[in-house]
């Protein structure tokens, strides 16, 4: 299977070997003088040379929750968007929703719809970015390609210049819509309690209607590409089904009243590994259902289902470990709310053997289904006459004290929770981000990969690549997770013998 993996999905087998060679040389050097990796994995072997324990470490903490204290609540959407420049709109929107709750103010119809339009545009755009720019090079360009091609330029070379232009052009236009309302694409400014800062000029509407229609075509076309390039490859399908990337955990996602996927609004629903509903709750009650566990070896916290209690990195029907993100959302919901997305969802479960799907690598597919859903919601919203209503905001009148808000970020559920004084200055901020929810499952994937590849003290050369794949499938955002680091994470893997001595160090920048 290693061969298959290396060919089909390996982001750089050759490079990994080189890295290994380099690391091997470096192993003898006092590690203290070397640079610490952004993400770090320590693997320990038992006396038989089998993997005893693998630690995924995140080495930084930025402390947004603390330095938001004293800041005016209305600044939170802009400040917290700086947690992550890859998904700033998600933080912005979760924060804005927390402000609605804080001030007990219901957004106006147009305010709500503009938020929806911006948010679904963002989801489509961000998913497209991941599919074509960040994740795409792995499975579109292919692992054999020279590193200099393993980027968007390479993707363009693979799918054709016309198609490449279409990707670039569509993303540009989607981002222009976000900029129209938000001022900026990265770190937009539209969110305020009770609505948004800016109305939609009716003159702009035809342009955005065209964009929504094109966006839907684009999403459906992306599904075609996925079918053709990925599903057309038996290796990839095999890989999806492979054991190393399968974990039976719970799944959480936001659902509407009919338990359909919703990115912007609704209750959070958790299903177990058999697809049974474990709980469903409004975000304001998140503390009753979710909790964070601290391990002494990482700055990242591990979120789990509170009712089940933390019992380690385990899977199965009783596990408190759950996942979020495109796959989790599709698993946690009963349906998609739009026709094309629903059809794609049915195809997804049919091919992958029914709900819930536990194959981490299926996340890429789920992401494409969500692109279709996001585009369909855009089409709905720009068709709504209320979208051009100038009444985009309701001025809050309540004295603030506490509020929570959540959205489904591209990478999963994102929760913002604030307490303030009567002037609306933050006294407490608590943020739980997608990678926090996923942290335990990611750690399990890493350990699974290690255990699968290290036997009798022999370290398989492809280890690093496999670990990276396990990692990248989650699209983990350690920037979000520690509120410190950006989307894609250099890794360092160290392997220790039973006495704790360092056997080997593998570095992946």
């Amino acid at each position: 299977m290693d061969e298959v993996l290396a060919k089909a999905f390996n982001p750089g087998n050759i490079r990994a070997n080189a890295a290994y060679q380099a690391a091997k040389r470096h192993v003898i050097i006092d590690p203290v003088t070397r640079l610490e990796g952004h993400g770090k994995i320590d693997i320990f072997l038992d006396p038989k040379g089998e993997v005893e324990r693998a630690y995924l470490q995140v080495p930084e903490l930025r402390g947004f929750e603390v330095f938001c204290r004293g800041r005016p609540a209305e600044d939170m959407p802009q400040i917290t968007s700086r947690i992550c420049g890859v998904c700033p709109t998600a933080h912005h929107m979760a924060s804005t929703k927390a402000l609605d709750d804080l001030y007990r103010v219901e957004p106006t119809g147009a305010g709500r719809k503009i938020r929806g339009l911006v948010y679904h545009t963002f989801m489509l755009e961000d998913h497209a970015l991941h599919f074509y720019v960040l994740g795409g090079p792995d499975f579109i360009v292919g692992p054999e390609a020279p590193p200099a091609e393993r980027n968007i330029v390479g993707v363009i070379g693979k799918v054709g210049l016309e198609a490449g232009r279409r990707v670039i052009d569509t993303r540009r236009r989607l981002r222009e819509l976000i900029a129209y309302f938000g001022g900026k694409v990265v770190h937009p400014v539209l969110g305020l309690p009770g609505g948004v800062s800016k109305a939609l000029d009716p003159q702009e509407l035809p342009k955005f209607r065209q964009l929504a229609a094109d966006g839907l075509d684009f999403a459906l076309w992306t599904l075609e590409i996925f079918r053709k390039i990925v599903l057309g490859s038996t290796e990839y399908v095999e890989m999806i089904h492979s054991d190393a990337f399968t974990h039976k955990t719970c799944y959480m996602g936001m659902v509407d009243a009919e338990n359909r996927v919703n990115f912007y609004d609704g209750d959070l629903r958790v299903v177990d590994c058999l697809g049974r509903e474990v709980c469903k709750f409004p975000v304001a009650r998140y503390r009753e259902f979710l909790a964070e566990h601290v391990e002494p070896w990482s700055y990242m916290k591990f979120t789990f289902l509170k009712s089940r209690g933390w019992n380690g990195f385990v899977e199965g029907p009783d596990t408190p470990v759950y996942a979020v993100g495109p796959l989790a959302r599709i698993n946690a919901a009963d349906a998609m709310a739009t026709p094309n997305a629903q059809a794609a969802r049915e195809e997804f479960f049919k091919i992958l053997g029914g709900r819930p799907v536990h194959h981490t690598l299926a996340t890429h597919w789920a992401r494409v289904i969500e692109m279709i859903y996001a585009a369909e919601r855009m089409v709905e919203l720009v068709a709504d006459p209320e979208i051009t209503d100038p009444k985009v905001r309701r001025i809050p009148s309540e004295v603030p004290s506490e509020g929570a808000g959540a959205v489904e970020a591209p990478r999963g559920t994102l929760i913002h929770h604030y307490q303030t004084d009567a002037r609306g200055l933050v006294t407490m901020a608590n943020l739980i981000v997608a990678t926090g929810h996923n942290a335990a499952r990611i750690a399990m994937s890493v350990e699974r990969a290690a255990k699968g590849l290290i036997h009798e003290g022999r370290v398989t050369e492809g280890l690093l690549n496999k670990v990276e794949m396990a990692f990248r499938a989650y699209d983990p955002c350690l920037g979000c997770a520690t509120h410190s680091l950006p989307g894609h994470t250099p890794l360092k893997v160290r392997i220790h013998d039973q006495r704790g001595g360092l056997l080997r160090e593998l570095v992946r920048e």
Partner: protein, 324 residues
């Protein structure tokens, strides 16, 4: 002639700067053709080892974003400084500390305690903390130590140029690269953005009254804002007059005030002090209690005036924090 080698790198940042570079790459494939990108972790597969193996000064220019917040980041900055003929602080965090430097208002211990003990969702009976060195059944792991102080890039290494913004716009980045690659590079230490405040390019400048004085300040959520009128004229604190232009007044275009991400002009040492001076001087009130009442409309001067630049402010940091 070989193409100039260019590196992008991040330190303590959100990745938004990288997004701009992605936008730039999409926008102008031509740039990629003119440049040889040797390090760009977010989108391209190159290795640290490759950089280290280079001759000193082999990289033409490194655009580094993010604040400096750990030993690792500091050393990476030093390495890239050594390898690059031109080191550019890219984005507000590298230029001025950015939003992460708001952490300079708090002690490291406060941050750790909240995150691992006091946060309402934490369940941590034994008060476990991430350990710099942790041992479990003979297995030892290490975590790097976070700095107490968040720093801008030039507070750690010598910086040749600054490209401000949170994030910088693709346009300003393109212009800066063109300037760097041009025949007459700008003088060392230059901020590669206009040296005139944002108002110059803000469409709301037209019709801003010349006799503006403040009877009150309104926080953005407290009032419906006219999308055309100067925000200061609506009593909303806008940092435009104290902030470099170059972004095209994006936030005012979103009907929200400028929050100052491009930093001050070259003639100002402390952006916060200057906007404070200007806003306050233009109050109407004369008696201290009346003045204070109006100024209640600015409930968080530090967070408002040093949103992106506490590290580079004159004081740099809350001065009474324990632990030096």
């Amino acid at each position: 002639m070989p193409k100039p080698k260019v590196a992008f790198y991040w330190c303590a940042s959100c990745g938004g700067c990288e997004e701009t570079v992605v936008d730039l790459a999409e926008d102008i494939l031509g740039v990629v053709e003119k440049l040889d990108i040797v390090l760009w972790p977010v989108a391209m597969d190159f290795k640290y080892a490759d950089v280290e193996a280079m001759e000193d000064g082999a990289i033409f220019a490194t655009l580094l974003n993010g604040a400096i917040r750990s030993t690792e980041q500091e050393q990476m900055a030093r390495l890239l400084r050594r390898k690059s003929r031109v080191l550019v602080a890219y984005g507000s965090c590298a230029c001025m500390g950015g939003i992460p430097s708001l952490a300079n208002g708090f002690a490291r211990e406060e941050i750790l305690k909240f995150n691992y003990e006091d946060a309402p969702s934490v369940v941590n009976g034994p008060r476990t903390r991430p350990q710099l060195s942790f041992e479990e059944e003979g297995r030892k792991t290490h975590l790097p130590e976070q700095s107490r102080v968040v720093r801008s890039l030039d507070q750690v290494v010598d910086v040749d140029y600054f490209i401000p913004g949170c994030p910088p716009t693709p346009l300003i980045t393109k212009k800066a690269l063109a300037a760097l690659l041009g025949d007459a590079p700008p003088p060392k230490g230059s901020v590669l953005a206009p040296d005139t405040a944002l108002c110059e390019e803000c469409p709301r400048k037209v019709g801003k009254p010349a006799d503006l004085s403040f009877a009150q300040f309104r926080r953005p959520h407290q009032a419906l804002l006219d999308p055309e009128k100067c925000l200061l004229a609506q009593g909303v604190v806008c940092l435009g007059p104290a902030t470099r232009g170059g972004c095209g007044a994006q936030c005012p275009a979103g009907n929200m005030p400028c929050t100052g991400c491009f930093g001050p002009t070259s003639r100002v040492r402390d952006q916060g002090a200057k906007i404070l001076s200007s806003l306050c001087a233009n109050l109407e009130a004369k008696e201290a209690p009346d003045i204070d009442r109006v100024l209640e409309g600015i409930p968080d001067p530090v967070g408002t005036f040093y949103r992106y630049g506490m590290a580079k402010s004159i004081l740099r940091r809350r001065v009474d924090l324990n632990g030096g």
